[in-house]
Symmetry: D2
Subunit: 109 residues, 4 copies
């Protein structure tokens, strides 16, 4: 079983780019700059908030903006994975296995 | 049908954080700083490459590093979505619909 | 002699923040998020450009936007240095010395 | 009088790049990716800290690391300004004037 299934999203994004002739713009460096831009927009929403305000953000009028920026980061990250032909499920699975070795779980109380 | 199914990954990440008592660190601002850090590591791999070198990166010895950084960005983004209780499938679907209105497809040739 | 003299700018920024009661917002994590936001805006301007287009950007209609974003990155970086009480001239001098050891100059032809 | 005087630093960085034949790498998009990398390294230092811990960071063992990363961000930003032929003193002065109009000072108490 997959940890993350992105097949339908990847198909949708491939169509979306093709219908707009955007594949010529979607090379790795462009997409990393675009990803940087979207992470920047996300950071901007939170820059002057306290941690308490940040934790309550989805109950306020910025919720939809946050939701859209999270989606934008994910969309550009998926496009990057697509042009690099990275299987994100396998990549995530391997990285979690590495992290589990590097940071063993705490002993049960 | 979902565009992206993250249920198993979210369950795995929830366990992973709980087993290490990491939930206390995973608040929105911390996770955005962590996301910034990982996007920075991804950018660093590509910073001195030409576009041609960047497009061939998965055939060279940096492939595994790129794969791990893409996974790290995705893992922190998912943790952020989890603490903000954002349904990423719905968020991505809504954002694609917005983008489709903003950027209509080209007419068929 | 200083490599970089920021005394007048720091005095101006201190006044600017005080006159707006902004010091309460200018803590290190807030300023790093703000810096991330501004670097993101800079990246966005360049995200779909070729290297050739990027090198000619100051001759086109995006020149003023680029200039403003470079200024914004510098202003938040200086505010961060100020709240951390970092002497940027000394920091830059020390880092260049470190880099010079790490990357020796090429032999003269 | 200048708000920020970077003449000596720019001369030093020009020599440094020339002595290592690095000018060929220092184009705008490369430098923005490098800047993203350095801001990411800065963010990483602060990612799991509380605001209180972040404010005390220069009294602890991470002080020198922070100082070096602030220097790195400044060095790449200056290289970017140099290749774009941006006069940072003029850019900063103009941006502060814009900000002053956009955010008028509070009335004196």
């Amino acid at each position: 079983m997959k940890l993350i299934d992105t097949a339908a999203l990847e198909a949708r994004l491939a169509d979306f780019a093709r219908e707009r002739d955007w594949d010529r713009f979607h090379n790795p460096r462009n997409l990393i700059l675009a990803l940087t831009g979207e992470v920047g927009e996300l950071a901007e929403i939170f820059q002057w908030l306290t941690d308490a305000q940040a934790e309550a953000i989805m109950q306020g009028d910025k919720a939809e903006h946050v939701r859209q920026e999270v989606a934008d980061v994910l969309l550009y990250l998926m496009r990057l994975a697509m042009v690099l032909k990275i299987d994100v499920d396998a990549a995530v699975r391997d990285k979690i296995a590495l992290n589990a070795k590097k940071y063993p779980p705490l002993p049960e109380a």
